[in-house]
């Protein structure tokens, strides 16, 4: 049972500000994912929560207790490191119980916890082996065991899957998800992999340049990105941004892409408030673009879609789907379709855009409108 609250946390390395006023609050049992590009400060934030690095300003509160001045070992946290950080000279069993031994827990209790973890992670046959004799996946398992055995208030994960191959990564991701489902412990997880973030998190904090860009549920992060940065960072391929301006006549709101005076997209259904001649970016996810009208009619709510004329330029086949690059009045748009559909390159065609799912961004502030 643990809540985590971070208030206005700041940190500097020499002159560089790495954390510029972080505010976060998660409830007991939440799975918070810190997502962002490398160098955004997410690992530093995690290390400050753990107490491995000091903050310059602000508060970290675990279960209504301020922990800023506490040693890492006093914060009742467990940490799973990117490199697993197993103690090379100790075998698996010694690795797992090391933390318990430091805390002067009785032998019987230690054995009990050890057995519980060994059964849970199915690592009985590894107990007497040294870390060097383990495969990547096994090391990962042992590292988790070392964290789980202590039964801490909060689990902290620092890109724990990034050293595994693709297949194993998906397997371990599911195991972590299962662990969280079974234990309901509060977890904070750092990654730069958006798929990991989406699949694991109950809350995601997207970080950029030492600040939190958006702190929300995975669903909102994906469908209602707060800023161009978030929209661009999440999703693969990332969201299309069409640069243009708004024209408001009487009751009609139209969007004109740059370099085009005639054909516009009708945005009447958009709930947000826009003004005449606003410079905006229209954000469309590649999967919200359809090739056939029937398809658009069937899928979009209230038949709220727009027709746009484009020129297909490039075609990338990636197995179960294909990514096609279109030219839309000089701007690039990427669409994602099932690979069974045949598209003729260099032949003008019409696409259908689901207008329920588009996002509008202010060109200047780069924020969502």
């Amino acid at each position: 049972m643990a809540t985590l609250k971070i208030k206005n946390l700041e940190k500097k390395f020499n002159q560089t500000e790495v954390l510029k006023g972080i505010n976060l609050e998660i409830n007991d049992g939440d799975f918070l994912v810190l997502l962002g590009p490398s160098g955004c400060g997410k690992s530093t934030l995690l290390n400050t929560i753990a107490g491995l690095e000091n903050s310059d300003n602000g508060e970290i509160i675990i279960d209504s207790q301020k922990v800023n001045d506490m040693e890492p070992s006093e914060r009742d946290i467990a940490f799973v490191f990117q490199s697993y950080a197993l103690y090379p000279a100790m075998n698996v069993e010694e690795n797992i119980v090391f933390g318990l031994k430091q805390r002067k827990i009785s032998k019987d209790k230690i054995n009990e916890s050890l057995n519980r973890i060994v059964e849970l992670l199915k690592i009985t046959e590894l107990l007497k082996r040294k870390p060097a004799q383990l495969s990547g996946g096994q090391r990962q398992r042992v590292a988790m065991g070392r964290a789980l055995v202590r039964d801490p208030k909060i689990f902290l994960f620092d890109e724990p899957l990034s050293n595994l191959d693709a297949k194993l990564r998906i397997e371990m991701r599911r195991e972590i998800k299962k662990l969280h489902k079974n234990f309901k412990t509060t977890m904070v997880y750092v990654t730069h992999d958006q798929t990991e973030a989406m699949s694991l998190g109950t809350k995601i904090a997207i970080m950029n340049n030492g600040k939190i860009e958006q702190f929300d549920t995975p669903n909102n992060i994906y469908n209602k990105p707060n800023s161009i940065f978030v929209a661009d960072f999440v999703g693969s391929p990332s969201m299309n941004f069409i640069s243009g301006y708004i024209k408001k006549d009487e009751n009609v709101i139209s969007f004109f892409p740059d370099n085009e005076k005639q054909k516009s997209i009708n945005l009447n259904s958009i709930k947000t408030k826009v003004n005449n001649s606003d410079e905006i970016l229209l954000g469309i996810r590649p999967e919200h673009i359809f090739l056939k009208k029937e398809h658009a009619v069937r899928v979009t709510k209230d038949h709220n879609f727009a027709e746009i004329e484009v020129h297909p330029e490039l075609h990338e086949y990636i197995g179960h789907e294909q990514i096609v690059t279109f030219n839309y009045y000089g701007q690039e748009i990427l669409g994602k379709f099932s690979s069974s559909i045949n598209i003729e390159i260099d032949k003008k065609m019409t696409l259908f855009v689901d207008l329920n799912s588009v996002s509008l961004f202010d060109k200047e502030t780069k924020r969502r409108i």
């Binding site: 890492p72 103690y87 430091q102």
Partner: protein, 285 residues
């Protein structure tokens, strides 16, 4: 193609053979001379094998002739050297290891500057510290004693041992230390239970290096000690230089080999580790 390879191989081995010969000849001369009697040395050839193997010279070099006070022999000085080398070796290695650990895994403000000073210390020539060290030892009242030489060698070696261990530990992941901190281990607990057990390669390098340095030292020995407290290299020098009338080449050679033997043994026992350890720290450092 085959012929070409064979030719270059033969050439290579010829050159190597030449170098082997070049390096081994002095040792050969030392050994055969030490086993000859003085008569045989005077009459015979420098390179000829001894007619009979005769260990008298070795016995004299080690235990003397029993001629009273003017007689110099190595036995007491050999133990002097052991008394100096072993403690100085342990102190400088252990402190160097802790320094290297603190400088890499418990970074503090100015850690880099301090490391730079240690590094700078390795460039200080022996001669430069003779006078200040003599004053210091005098002030502490430990000049001309094994303790004084232990201090000198420990301090002088610290720069090197710190450098070795620092470069080794810098290549070991910080995350291991962080994990131990989260697990609740302290500074020394982490050092002794987690880092020291994986430091064998660099320990061997440091031990060989320091042992050789301290055992072979002449300048500190001759400056800071005399008489019965002198280390073996000083005694060897006295022995070879003070034999007034007759030069006993066989005894000199036996004594020289004896003085060099411990380092040779260490190299043979740990040489393999030495090569491995030298490169181990440099891979990522």
């Amino acid at each position: 193609m085959l012929n070409k390879i064979n030719f270059s191989r033969i050439f290579l081995f010829l050159i190597l053979g030449l170098f082997v010969f070049y390096y081994i000849t002095p040792l050969y001369v030392m050994i055969v001379t030490s086993l000859k009697s003085m008569n045989e040395i005077r009459e015979g050839n420098l390179f000829s094998l001894p007619s009979t193997i005769n260990f008298d010279a070795w016995k004299i070099a080690w235990g003397g002739r029993g001629e009273g006070t003017s007689d110099t022999f190595l036995k007491p000085y050999f133990f002097n050297s052991l008394k100096i080398t072993i403690p100085a070796l342990i102190i400088s290695t252990l402190l160097g290891a802790i320094n290297g650990y603190a400088l890499t895994k418990w970074k503090f403000k100015g850690a880099n500057l301090i490391f730079l000073l240690f590094l700078f210390g390795t460039f200080i020539p022996y001669q430069a510290i003779l006078l200040p060290m003599a004053r210091t030892l005098g002030f502490l009242g430990i000049s001309n004693s094994p303790i004084g030489l232990i201090l000198v060698h420990s301090v002088y070696g610290l720069g090197f041992t710190t450098l070795f261990f620092r470069n080794y530990y810098v290549s070991i992941s910080d995350e291991i230390v962080n994990a131990a901190k989260v697990d609740g281990a302290g500074f020394f607990k982490i050092f002794f239970t987690i880092l020291l057990p994986i430091s064998l390669p660099i320990l061997v390098v440091t031990i060989i290096f320091q042992f050789t340095q301290i055992w072979n030292d002449f300048l500190f020995g001759v400056t800071f000690s005399f008489g019965e407290h002198a280390p073996i290299q000083v005694a060897l020098n006295n022995m070879v230089l003070t034999s007034a009338s007759v030069k006993y080449y066989n005894v000199d050679m036996a004594a020289a080999i004896m003085a060099a033997l411990p380092t040779l043994v260490i190299y043979i026992l740990a040489g393999n580790y030495f090569i491995k350890g030298l490169t181990a720290g440099s891979v990522k450092g």
